[in-house]
């Protein structure tokens, strides 16, 4: 059982949790994730470790409500516990001094990008953050992302903060201006990462993306998380979730993410009905 020590609402439908998980905190590195389950009937949900405090024995998680299970997680309060919390899972991203790194985060992608940006900055890199969301209200962790960046850009679909449009456009103009960039790290919806990889391919800039396929165990036991990277099948939970963005088959990823959509919609419909009855 992993006890929730703090909870904050970051944006509509997005919650921050500080959770007691000393063993996980002791081993966590940027790029790692955990799998949590709210209760006995819950689904196993992968969540990125946003930050960790080894001494305090805590990890930070950010949950966006998208369906029934994330709704269940989001409804937990301080003092409640996640019934199960397994981690740290996945391969961490290598943090080295390489020069200039652009971190592109879309929507909830800020959560997984943040630890990478933070530790890249600590390692002496020039860090440029590009953060996008649908509207200004949905931009999370603005201060944190600013603190760990040498430069920060925002973009929103409706122009309510920063550039009006997509993060890919901000990145494209940065590269078009001739900014020397050694690596791009992009995390967000698959469609956004696909767009980023297309932009950076044009300028021949190394690109790392962090994939979010549907997972079950997170230990390499089910193969549900398989993704195609450079013609090869990989299990994202153990070989990723970070991969070379220029090699990922994003269309396949998006298709596989929709595997349970119709089932989940039915369940969620039921779940909403139950709520109305309450």
């Amino acid at each position: 059982m992993a006890k929730i020590l703090a909870k904050r609402k970051l944006a509509p439908e997005i919650y921050f949790f500080e959770v007691a998980a000393p063993l996980v905190a002791a081993k966590a590195q940027p790029g790692h994730f955990v799998i949590v389950r709210a209760d006995q009937t819950g689904e196993r949900i992968p969540l990125t470790i946003v930050d960790y405090d080894r001494e305090g024995g805590t990890i930070d998680l950010v949950v966006q409500r998208v369906g029934a299970s994330t709704q269940e997680l989001a409804s937990l309060a301080v003092g409640d516990s996640f019934l199960d919390l397994l981690g740290p899972l996945g391969e961490p991203v290598e943090i080295e001094k390489i020069g200039t790194v652009v971190c592109v985060a879309g929507g909830l992608g800020v959560a997984p990008v943040y630890p990478k940006a933070k530790y890249l900055k600590e390692a002496g890199n020039e860090v440029i953050n590009i953060v996008g969301a649908r509207t200004a209200e949905m931009v999370i962790m603005k201060e944190e992302m600013s603190e760990v960046a040498d430069e920060i850009y925002f973009s929103t679909d409706d122009g309510s903060l920063g550039h009006e449009g997509f993060v890919t456009e901000v990145l494209d103009s940065l590269l078009a201006e001739g900014k020397e960039v050694d690596e791009v790290i992009a995390v967000g919806p698959a469609i956004m990462m696909k767009g980023v990889a297309e932009v950076t391919a044009k300028y021949d800039v190394d690109t790392i993306v962090s994939l979010n396929p549907i997972m079950v165990d997170g230990t390499g036991m089910c193969g549900g998380c398989r993704v195609t990277v450079g013609e090869e099948t990989k299990f994202a939970c153990v070989e990723g979730p970070a991969f070379d963005g220029h090699l990922v088959d994003f269309d396949e990823l998006m298709r596989r993410q929709g595997h349970y959509q119709s089932k989940e919609e039915k369940a969620e419909h039921k779940c909403k009905l139950e709520k109305e009855v309450e």
Binding site: L23, T41, L85, P88, V216, H259
Partner: protein
Amino acid sequence: MAKRQVMDKQEPEERINNFAEVAQGFTEKEAVAEAQRCLQCDKSPCVDGCPVGVPIPDFIELITAKEFSEALATIKEKNAFPAICGRVCPQEEQCEAECVLGNKGEPVNIGALERFVADWELEKDSADKKEIETEADRAKVAVVGSGPAGLTAAADLAKLGYQVTLFEALSEAGGVLKYGIPEFRLPKAIVNKEIKELEELGVEIKLNTLIGATLSLDDLWEDGYEAVFVGVGAGLPYFLNLPGENLNGVYSANEFLTRVNLMKAYKFPEYRTPITLGNQVAVIGAGNVAMDSARTALRLGAEEVSIVYRRSRNEMPAREEEIENAEAEGVNFQLLRNPVKIIGNEEGWVKGLECVEMELGEEDSSGRPRPIPIEGSNFTIEVDTVIVAIGQGPNPLLSKKTPELETNDWHNIIVDEESYQTSIAGVFAGGDVIGGNATVIAAMGDGRGAAQAIDEYLQSK
């Protein structure tokens, strides 16, 4: 000679609509009648057929005398989990294969008798169970993985007085007994009772702990553990590497069975884990895992379920009883057919399985006839779900994170055959992770052997 007693089963038409256990177990009368058939042979060849040497005639004689508790104690000298083995052992290849009455095709139903006494005890209130005496607290031992190998090692070590902690990556203990073998063949309540007994022995179970990630082997030494048993099983699913294998609607058997058994997707949406299953399901492979997948698919409501297998019925590796159960339930057997391609529709969902017909040639290295494709015989079967059940290998996670732990080309941990000792002093391994038989009882045998070896190692330290 009296006829062999067999267990009643739920009727096929009925059982494909539920997940309740298929075989009903002996009544006391049936059990005694079956026990009376045993000839109490001096040489007891049946015992040689049992990988752990259960004293079969002895426990059977106690059943004829209705001394069920003693019968159970006699089995437990050799087999810690008879309620499980009585259900899932391939008896027809092991104990019953050697029974002298087998010459006439009617061996003593040893598995059902074993199950009977185990269930008899489990049904009684555990309050009147005898206190198991364990010796004084000895060294700390870590057991990694809670499948049959780990459970057995933990039980034996605890009885010897060691302070045992069992680490399990998943949210429940039991390994394949929980996530793989379906409820209708091995009710989870039975596995849970066996696990509860283990806790009563003083074994501490730490779930959600992935050794190699949450804790390393080095951490275990630092925490004061003086020996480690690794029983992490063979959880890595193999795929066929065919075009179309990543289409929506293609599952590994592991994913399919884990969703249904461990996560209870058959109770969706009460349980939140979904499963999407079409009407026409092809299961590739013909082992126990394939039969379990096919029969599970039927119970989830699939209209047509086929086993697609490249050899013939004789070579199918599944237990005979499970093949018969699958046939009775209406699973369709597409034998001598090998898949070559999975075909998708525009949205990327499975719509067909292209196969080629096969014929059998000379024996290959496995001693079975080699299947040879018949050129030009390709054809497509219409399916919307494909479950790949062609086998699994050891999960490489722990060995990858522990380079000193030597493995072979198939990622099996290498051990000394006698002592279960790995390449790291104080680390022992057994069960599916070291290769071998891939049966529950063989894993238990390893767990028991390794527990003895660990005891010797710690005594001599």
